[in-house]
Each structure stands twice: as C-alpha cells, then as structure tokens.
C-alpha cells in the first residue's frame, strides 16, 4: 500500500457518541450528543493532539480510539480495517495494537499489585509468553522508561507521581502497541517532571515508531509534542490542521479564545503588564 491515502494507521469517519442521561420519575431520559461527527486520520509515527476544555468530548473520543467504548455512529478504522467492538470484542491482536495511558497515575495503578505484576499482566491476558520471559520483558521495559529492574518488587505507593506515570507508560508498551492513546498524561505532574515524561515519550516514539493520540488542554505542551492538532469544542472539531498552521494562524474564534486565555511568559508581555500596573497605581495616588 504505497498510496499516500492509505498510510493512515488510525482513521475516524463521522464519529458520533450519544450518552443517555437517565430521566427521573416525571421526565424522560435525555440524549446528550458528546461527539457530533468527528473525522480524522493519523499517519504512522505521528502525533495527533486533541485539544479542548472539560466537556468538549476529548476524553470520549480518546476512549473510542482506545477501543474502550463503541461510537454510537460512524466508523473507526485501524490499519485500514473497520473495527466494531459491539459486534466482536477485540481480540489479543487488536488489543496489542492500541493501548492507553490515563491522566491520573495515582488512580490508574492497583495499589495492591507489585510493579512487576502490573507490567506482566497484559502479557498474561493477551499472550502465551512463559513466566520467565514475561519477567525479563518487564524488567527490560522498566529500564526503557528510566526505572530500575529491582523496582518490580515494589508497590505503587513507593513511587512519585512522575515515576508512576512512567510505570503506566511502561505497562501500555508491554504489548508492543503501534498506537498509544494518552489522555492528559502530564497534567497531574509538576513542571520539572512533566519535561522528563515528555522527553521520554519523544524517545519512545522514535524508537518504536509509535503513533500518539495526545489529549491535552495545555497548548504549550501541544505545541511541543504534536504534528497535527484537532481543536474540539462541545463535541465538534472546530479546527484541524498541522501544528505549524494552527499555531501561526488560528482561524476559528474558539481557537483564538484558547490562545488568548493561555498565560504567556514572554518578557515583553510581562514588561507591558508591569508598566500598566504602575500607571494605574500612579493614577490612583494623584
């Protein structure tokens, strides 16, 4: 398949997701449309960032791509093949292709499970790899993400937030997936740790030719990591394009509002603000 059109590894066609809100005694149930027809395609080894505020539907879309939820309408294609998880549960082969990393590394690891078991569990469920090799692979993966093999005997509470997010990434990589869905993977982390995790993600992408679906609300992080960006607002993709185009010349008013609201650490902006405040103060005292 050399045709450029066919190189998309993940593709969504008119994806719609409806949630029904249970009604009360006197009112009927209500349908809420969380996604209103989303189209996208991501090429192998690239990063698509999905940007939006809470309630925009970005996590809903991430869950559809990660094969957790089925869309109400529309089609999801992985490697050019349409996937319908309502008709057939995805088998081990499909599960190995797509994996997910969640936002909160404190909530996504079982506190009673040792790290070694956390990492080998996907292999136990999806493969027939023998125990000795599972352990070996888990220890190798720990080193890949910047931890030590001896960490496999420890429990999640013994790790910091950044280390736990590394563990969550390691677990997602155990099946050698081709697509990694990352739902706000650095939002819960401190700035210094965020930089380490972003660097790790960049290294892993190079090494394994991973495709990332990167959900975030932080435009500065998106600018650093994305190739393409989709801006979601109230379930609609209001703007979609390459990172360069979108950051150089945002078109949609919502995208512009997002940019305007993002704090800037630019020296000229700070200088202007300090000057404004000084003038306002002098105006008061006169």
């Amino acid at each position: 398949m050399s045709d450029a059109k066919d190189t998309a590894i993940v593709e969504g066609r008119a994806l719609v997701q409806d949630y029904s809100m249970p009604g009360s005694l006197f009112t009927g149930s209500k349908q809420v449309r969380a996604l209103k027809g989303i189209d996208f395609r991501v090429a192998q080894g690239k990063t698509l960032a999905i940007v939006g505020e809470s309630g925009s539907g970005k996590s809903t879309l991430a869950r559809i791509i990660a094969l957790i939820d089925a869309p109400s309408e529309g089609e999801l294609l992985i490697d050019g093949q349409p996937i319908d998880i309502t008709r057939r549960r995805p088998g081990p082969e499909m599960r190995s292709k797509v994996q997910m990393v969640f936002q909160n590394p404190y909530g996504s690891l079982n506190p009673r499970q040792k790290i070694g078991d956390v990492l080998t569990e996907p292999l136990v469920i999806n493969t027939r790899v023998p125990a000795a090799e599972r352990r070996e692979r888990a220890e190798a993966m720990l080193q890949k993400v910047g931890l030590q093999p001896e960490h496999s005997n420890r429990y999640p509470h013994m790790f910091s937030g950044g280390q736990r997010q590394r563990i969550a990434i390691a677990r997602a990589l155990m099946l050698n997936p081709r697509i990694l869905v990352l739902d706000e993977p650095v939002s819960a982390l401190d700035l210094s740790v965020q930089a380490q995790v972003l660097n790790l993600l960049a290294d892993l992408q190079d090494e394994f030719e991973l495709t990332y679906i990167f959900v975030s609300h932080d435009l500065s992080v998106v600018r650093y990591i994305a190739d393409d960006v989709m801006v979601l607002s109230k379930g609609e993709a209001v703007e979609q394009g390459s990172r360069e185009a979108l950051f150089a010349d945002p078109q949609h008013p919502y995208t512009k509002a997002l940019f305007a609201a993002t704090p800037v650490t630019d020296l000229d902006a700070i200088r202007a603000r300090v000057q404004r405040r000084k003038e306002a103060r002098e105006g008061q005292t006169v």
Binding site: E53, S192, A195, A202, D218, S220, V264, T265, I270, V274
Partner: protein, 279 residues
C-alpha cells in the same frame, strides 16, 4: 509597614518515622496593595507556610519563627480570640478545589450570608442584600437565582467565584489564594485571574498567590519568591525573575517550560540542578 512579615519560619511535622521539616527557615513579606507569588512544585512547602499564617495546620505541626507579624501585630504571641478576629476577616484565604471548599448541603447564598452574619455581625436582611452585591461584584450571572443554588448546580468557575465572594466579604487587607485556578479550564482560569487582579486593585488589598504555574506568575505577580523543598531559592520582582533568574533552580524551571523549548528536547530540572539527596 509590611502587611505581612515573616522571618525564619520553620514548620515541622511529627510523623511515625520522626520529625519532618516542611518549611525550613523561610523569610517572606508582602506590602499593602502588593501581589506576591509563591512558586514551587509539590512538596516545596508553599501551602504549608501560608496555612501556618492562617493557623490552619493540624496539631502534629510545630511552627516556629523569629517574627510573624501582620500590620505590626505579632501573630505568634496573640491570644486565640484576638487571632480569630483577624483570620477570616482581615486575612482571608481561598483554596484550590472550589467545589470541595463549599458545603454541598447548603445553598451558596446561605453559606455566604453565614459569613456575613458571623463575621460582620449583620442581620439576615443586611446579609442577604450584601451577598447579592458581592455575587454581582465577582461576576456571577443571574446572581439572585444563584444565591438559591446548591454547589453541585454550579460549574467549577462559578464555585470559585462564590469562594472569592466569601473571601472578600469582609473587605480583607490580605487575601491568600492557594492555587485558585489549578482545577479550572484555561479560559475560566483567565477570567478568575482577571477578577482577582481587578478586585485586588479596586480594594487595594495585598494578595499572596500560591502557584506552580509560571504562566500564572507572569500574568499576575509584582514580586515572586521561589521555594524548593521548604527552602527559599530566590526572591525577585517579576520582570527580573523571568529576565535574569539568579538561582539555578529558577533557571531550570523556566527552561523546562514547553513554550521555551528551543531544540528537540526539553531541558529537565535535574540536568540543571541536582538537589542533595535526589533520587
């Protein structure tokens, strides 16, 4: 005279494995009408030092300081009842999780009127009228209706506005805001920061803003103090801090900002700055 002046503040917690020093000899002062940002990552002791000022730390904490004065009055040696007259009236605080800070069983109006009746000695009628005024001042849409709403019926941004309304109800001289926008979306964050800055200017109060977000610092602070593991790393006016940071830690923090990334890789703090006893 400084609105708040702290010299050599140390806070220790008694834990099962011995004493843990959360704040280690911090000096800090804020002038009337000034916006001071305290920046640090989790574990830097930035919230603990302000909770010590408010007297909100648990009994396991030991607070010592050479000086802790509010407008020249000694907070450490003041009687409990005297201190209670200051805290919540002249010094107020808002917290990170607006929804968790409100009582889910009472309406927003009841909670703010309670503050006004208890702290300001207002009658029910006066309190009702003042609550409406405050809700309007902090930009809550349909304020009359929102007074009757319960916290779960409001969005995060609206709840934070309610918290701000309560905090400014007594016309405080010092407002401490602990990560007031961390739980909020970026467009709402902008609105809340703009509101805090406007109120700060209108009321002329001193504002201490605790944050880990350098962007928030750049958009609000007059002066900044940077903390790391309970110690003060640097203190500077906001422009000098961003223009020519003196401490290695501040430089590391600034270069770890994704928008400052120049090359392929983000410099990490540990590349610049190896603290003692790091992993």
């Amino acid at each position: 005279m400084a609105q708040l002046n702290i010299r050599n503040l140390t806070v220790k917690f008694a834990t099962a494995t011995g004493s843990f020093t959360a704040v280690d000899g911090i000096d800090l002062h804020v002038d009337p009408g000034e916006v001071l940002a305290i920046v640090g990552e989790s574990g830097s002791g930035k919230s603990v030092s302000m909770l010590a000022v408010m007297g909100l730390l648990p009994d396991t904490a030991t607070v010592t300081a050479d000086e802790m004065t509010y407008a020249g009055r000694d907070l450490l040696r003041m009687s409990r009842s005297e201190r209670r007259k200051l805290i919540g009236r002249e010094i107020t605080m808002i917290f990170q999780e607006p929804i968790a800070s409100l009582n889910p069983s009472f309406t927003a109006g009841f909670q703010i009127e309670e503050v006004l009746r208890l702290n300001m000695g207002m009658s029910r009628k006066q309190a009702r009228a003042r609550a409406l005024e405050l809700f309007t001042a902090v930009g809550i849409p349909q304020p009359e209706q929102k007074l009757k709403s319960y916290p779960h019926q409001m969005s995060g941004g609206q709840s934070q506005r309610v918290m701000i309304a309560m905090a400014i109800a007594s016309n405080p001289r010092l407002l401490i805001a602990d990560e007031p926008t961390t739980a909020l979306d970026v467009t709402i964050q902008k609105q809340i920061l703009d509101l805090l800055m406007k109120l700060q200017e209108d009321y002329g109060m001193a504002l201490i803003l605790i944050t880990h977000d350098m962007g928030v610092v750049a958009e609000t602070a007059d002066r900044v103090t940077v903390q790391y593991k309970g110690k003060k790393m640097e203190e500077a006016d906001v422009l000098s801090l961003f223009e020519s940071p003196k401490s290695a830690y501040t430089r590391a923090l600034l270069s770890a900002l994704p928008e400052h990334a120049t090359g392929e890789r983000l410099p990490t703090v540990s590349e610049f700055f190896l603290p003692e006893g790091s992993e």
